[in-house]
């Protein structure tokens, strides 16, 4: 920069004015330091984020909010509630036909990991946790279906109830698959979308099957 020593303002141009420096009251640390806020604020902020993502899943538009700020709270809550609801089997070990809590949990997370790895190997541009986040959130329609099935089963377990449950589960399964496809397929090269959609289809099919064949003892 030695050569710039003689760069100077010509003296007949008056240099005047005000310099206002945007000295914000937030230096960078203040923005990230949320230690001082009340716990209620922290929880409410996270709950709001989760709720916003639920809304995004129920009305899947091509927005990138789900992808951008991923979080795994929603999938955890959904997974745990689904696993709890599916654990209707009797404590009596003779009729051990229902899936156990650990089974459902492992299926969901293992399946999501496999789908994520698959989409990454096929050349996807989405990150690992973003994909987990999307797949987890798209279990929401199936959780709703499980709730409905349980309520229908309270009324009886005949042919009519089976047909109702079948319709509800199939509809929610289609909704889940479409919702997750809307978010995930965009990150793939266009001619390989079918390769990514198929495992997602299988994954939600297995979960839907577990929901449909659930009989409380």
């Amino acid at each position: 920069f030695a050569g710039l020593a003689d760069v100077s303002i010509s003296e007949d141009i008056p240099v005047e004015g005000e310099i206002t420096v945007p000295v914000g009251s937030h230096s960078p640390e203040d923005d990230f330091s949320t230690l001082d806020e009340p716990v209620k604020d922290t929880i409410m902020r996270d709950l709001k984020a989760v709720g916003k993502k639920f809304v995004h899943v129920m009305y899947p538009k091509k927005s990138s909010a789900l992808l951008r700020d991923w979080d795994l709270w929603g999938p955890l809550v959904l997974c745990v509630s689904l696993a709890l609801m599916l654990q209707g089997g009797a404590a009596d070990s003779k009729d051990d036909g229902g899936p156990q809590f650990a089974e459902v949990f492992v299926i969901i997370w293992f399946g999501a990991v496999v789908i994520t790895l698959n989409s990454k190997l096929l050349g996807g541009t989405i990150s690992f946790f973003q994909s987990l986040c999307v797949l987890g959130y798209c279990v929401l329609p199936l959780t709703v279906a499980m709730l409905v099935c349980r309520l229908v089963l309270l009324a009886g377990a005949g042919t009519v109830s089976f047909i109702i449950r079948l319709i509800v589960v199939v509809a929610m399964f289609a909704w889940s698959t479409l919702a997750s496809t809307a978010f995930l397929a965009d990150s793939q090269p266009p001619n390989r979308k079918a390769l990514v959609v198929y495992p997602i289809f299988l994954f939600y099919f297995v979960i839907s099957w577990m929901i449909l064949t659930f009989t409380p003892q």
């Binding site: 005047e16 000295v23 089974e103 079918a194 064949t213």
Partner: protein, 349 residues
């Protein structure tokens, strides 16, 4: 940056008339907006803004502005700068140092973690095996049912893992369906664990075993190719089981077993034969593969079907007759419909 610049410039003061680089830089930034007149807003982004530093920076800036307005006497500017530099040195340096140490630690930790990660969790080694198009997968699925005629030339096997992996997972899903509708009771373990273990165990275990035999018999096949071949051979199994888990006719199963299972086995055998020399070797290799493949289909049908429930109960529990075809709660509608349809079709034929 601001601190260092100040100090450096202060240090260079004795070196002659050259203004410190930062100062000249700042001079440039200052001049541009000032020419427009009025208020000037300086972008302070380039300056390292550490805790409690902005006031010092502002002070420094105002000082500098005043100097440039008055004259270009570098000596004075230098003196003021050094003053400012020292002033900053006292307050800003501590924060600066702490930041640098933390930054360095973060960098080192990040580098170590990413090195470990890229070493152990590198999925890029698998990437070439997943480089397929949907049309290719579809073509290979159909080809897996067509035995090749030309066994004198080594047949090409695509070393691809996407199709086989998806077929194994589909088989797992079909097995689950079969186990559920037959109300199989697994005492030690879970349904899902059993299904996954069976399918993956077969795919990986039998592939390795046949690869080992191929090594003994001097067949030209690599491990990935063997995995791919056996994986696509499971397509026949998937079709058979999907049909026969829903329509429970033993005769239908045997037809499918021989027909569909036989076709996919024939294809695998033909490909292997084309890559092996010598009659004994061909016989050993293909006999083993054919036997294992067909027996696996047989096992899958009978093991996860209604029959086993009866046997388990007679072995352990109260005396229940085996082969109990009690109508189950869930598929009562679908099964009845399918069975009657199949019966009607069989009768008309």
């Amino acid at each position: 940056l601001g601190r260092l610049r100040g100090q450096h410039a202060g240090g260079a003061r004795g070196g002659g008339g050259a203004a410190g680089p930062g100062r000249a830089e700042r001079a440039l930034t200052l001049s541009a907006p000032a020419q427009g007149g009025g208020s000037a807003v300086i972008d302070m982004e380039n300056m390292d803004d550490t805790s409690g530093s902005s006031f010092e920076d502002m002070g420094e800036m105002h000082q500098r502005m005043k100097e440039e307005e008055e004259e270009e006497a570098e000596g004075e500017a230098g003196a003021a700068e050094e003053e400012d530099g020292e002033f900053l040195g006292m307050k800003g340096l501590r924060g600066q140092l702490g930041r640098q140490v933390a930054d360095q630690m973060w960098q080192v930790g990040k580098r170590q973690a990413s090195r470990a990660f890229s070493l152990y969790a590198n999925i890029d080694i698998l990437r070439p095996y997943f480089d397929v198009e949907p049309v290719q997968v579809r073509a290979r699925l159909l080809e897996s049912m067509i035995p090749v005629k030309m066994i004198n030339f080594p047949q090409k096997i695509a070393g691809e893992l996407y199709g086989p992996l998806m077929l194994v997972f589909t088989l797992v899903a079909i097995l689950l369906h079969g186990m559920k509708t037959s109300d199989t009771i697994i005492r030690e373990g879970t349904l899902m664990g059993t299904a996954i273990g069976t399918c993956f165990g077969y795919w990986l275990g039998v592939s390795s075993f046949i690869y080992f035999l191929a090594y003994l018999c001097n067949a030209q096949i690599t491990m990935v190719q063997m995995l791919s071949l056996l994986g696509y051979g499971l397509f026949g199994h998937c079709i058979t089981l999907f049909v026969t888990y829903n329509i429970h006719f033993h005769s239908l199963f045997y037809i499918f077993w021989l027909g569909v299972g036989g076709l996919s086995t024939l294809r695998m055998v033909a490909v292997l034969v084309s890559r092996t020399v010598g009659h004994t070797q061909r016989l050993i290799l293909c006999g083993t593969l054919a036997a294992l493949h067909m027996l696996f289909l047989l096992y899958l049908h009978f093991a996860y079907h209604k029959v086993v429930e009866g046997i388990l109960d007679t072995l352990e529990g109260p005396n229940m007759p085996p082969f109990q075809r009690v109508a189950r709660d869930i598929p009562v509608v679908s099964n009845a419909v399918l069975n009657t349809t199949a019966k009607a079709v069989a009768l008309t034929l």
